[in-house]
Amino acid sequence: MTKNISIPALARVEGEGALYIRTKDNKIEHIELNIYEPPRFFEGFLQGRYFQEVPDITARICGICPVAYQMSSAKALEDAFGVEISPDVYNLRRLLYCAEFIESHVLHMYMLQAPDLLGVDSVIEIAAIAPDVVKKALRSKKLGNDLLKAIGGRSVHPVSTKVGGFYRWPDKDKIKGLIEDFKWGLEFAKETARWAVGLDFPDFEMEYEYVAVSHPDHYAIYDGDVLSSTGNKVPVEEYETRYLESHVPQSTALHSHTTQGNSYFVGPLARYNLNFEQLRPTAMEIAKEIGFVPPEFNPYKGLLARAIETIEVYDVAIELMEAYDPQGPPYAKFDLKDGEGYGVSEAPRGLLYHRYKVGKDGLIKEAKITPPTAQNYAQMEADLAKLAPKVLFDRSHKEASVALEHLLRSYDPCISCSTHFLKLKHDRV
């Protein structure tokens, strides 16, 4: 009647966590996703720092998506000071973001989630079966990193972003020198999507409220309003009037929900469902060819959304690189003043919101950061509650934990941003 299940580790995610499930007479009594990544207090020690330090400091929240933190924070502070960035800065930021999407998406598709779909433990085992595919994936991932390096000096915690723009324009030859390789990358991204659609995705669906940044002119990553699949759309400064965070005992991550108390879903699948029509012709053609079109409610198929998005960002990146010819200063000059500012953008794993209060001395008075994983937290728990009864009782402990872990991995949780590693404890009482 009683049963204890313990999965010692959630692998291939970023951060540390545990899953506790208590069942009685083959019914779920209690389910709790427990993130025990140590609290790191970023919002606390940002207080009193100089505004220009913020993009460098917030980058350290996440080693896999530092650019997202740099973009949302720089935008929020530009909003606070009333700074307009130049069109060339805008385009270079979009290009920098494309680079991070390529690096992060290819990492997640091939190194973190694909092993689950192929029934192996790691990309190293995939390499033993299909070395050529893995070599190509590594090359594609490296191209993302190469572009990050060309723009930001290095791929992890790049150094070129500042409030107002960039410290300097990246070297034109370095950017142009990557174009031919990126054309290869675009073709490989198409190959990936055609391969990925044939993978055996688990059969599982939920009715999600999707939330993502949406822009009138393009498939949004860098900027836009906050759109929900309910139809609700709010500008960034009203984000906190509709999306709330609360602190629950079992976790150092704050949990988000809508003001109606509902869980919601952010990430590639949310963006795909909400902004699909804005995909450019290249990505749209492949999406239709493989038959992956919204509405789509299977969280495991976030991988396919990543695959199509990878085509999109390669395509956008090539256009921006070909057009790259920056004019004028790389950053705007502006005066400091007391203010409050808001910034939102799409990290590879979902919407990332920042808000700052800053003084005319340039020092931060208050910081508020809502990372994607905190927003998905309640939804991940709800998904687990639905999946658990299907897998806990008629499968071995190992099979059950693999199924539950795979579900969480499909969210690409960045647990260190909220707070990598999951322990499933199953008590049967």
Binding site: C62, G63, P131
Partner: protein
């Protein structure tokens, strides 16, 4: 000879340094040909029990659980490598060591009482014997590779001990401090990043920590004279490697001289 068994462990950190291993795209498949990845949660769900020949440890010790876990890891590891600024000096989260941590907790969380953490976030070497340190926030991925290869070849890894300044000269980067008056802590910061900040038109912000023979007495007055906002020198040094003794002491000395700042 069997392949050496390598474990990668994470403590309080951003994952950026262990990502450095996955970012060795050109070398990764060869690397796993000469070492066995026995434990590396970010990369594989295959978990093999210790003991391990080499343990790479990312992150700082900041919770009671971590304090216990690092002892266990030390016991089951041959060579223990602390890699990254968090592991070698406490990292960004050790900024809390300088302030009242309860206020920080209150600023971030509604219920600080739910949290279980140590007052200070500290480097691995404060807790166990560390055999090798790789510096940087983030580390240079090629230094991870160099460390592993050097261990296999039974030699000392070749890591630079000079300051960032020298790399600017080698790169032909014109000094941002001398020519533009931009405060730069490159003269007191360990090389290894490639001197990328000055190459990008900004001052070094010290993310590789103090250079072994840094001359703070000579540099600090120059930095203070170039400040773009009050206390910029304190901010530059009290950051990603702010808890490293040389940076910590330099800032403490500055604050003692002008307690109001």
């Amino acid at each position: 000879m069997s392949k050496p068994r390598v474990a990668v462990h994470k403590f309080s950190s951003c994952d950026g340094c262990q990502l450095g291993i996955l970012n060795l795209e050109d070398e990764l498949l060869d690397l796993v040909g000469i070492i066995e990845i026995a434990y590396f949660l970010e990369a594989t769900s295959k978990i093999q029990p210790g003991p391990y020949d080499i343990a790479l440890v990312e992150g700082s010790v900041s919770t009671p659980h971590e304090k216990k876990r690092i002892q266990e890891i030390r016991e089951e590891s041959g060579v223990l490598i602390a890699f990254g600024a968090c592991a070698t000096s406490g990292g960004i989260q050790s900024l809390r060591n300088f302030v009242d941590h309860t206020k920080l907790a209150e600023a971030v969380y509604d219920h600080p009482e739910y949290l279980d953490y140590l007052e200070k976030a500290t480097p691995i070497s404060d807790h166990v014997k560390v055999d090798l340190e790789i510096h940087g926030c983030p580390v240079n991925k090629y230094q991870i590779l160099e460390a592993i290869i050097a261990l296999l070849q039974q030699r000392t890894p070749n890591f630079p001990t000079h300051s960032v300044c020298l790399d600017c000269k080698r790169n032909g980067t014109v000094c941002v401090m001398v020519t533009q008056g931009i405060p730069c802590v490159g003269p007191v910061t360990r090389a290894g990043c490639g001197a990328i900040c000055p190459a990008n038109g900004r001052g070094c912000y010290g993310c590789f920590g103090p250079a072994p023979q840094a001359e703070f007495d000579a540099m600090i007055p120059l930095l203070q004279a170039a400040e773009e906002y009050p206390n910029q020198t304190v901010h530059l040094l009290r950051n990603f490697a702010g808890y490293a003794p040389a940076f910590r002491n330099a800032v403490d000395a500055m604050l003692e001289e002008s307690p109001k700042k």
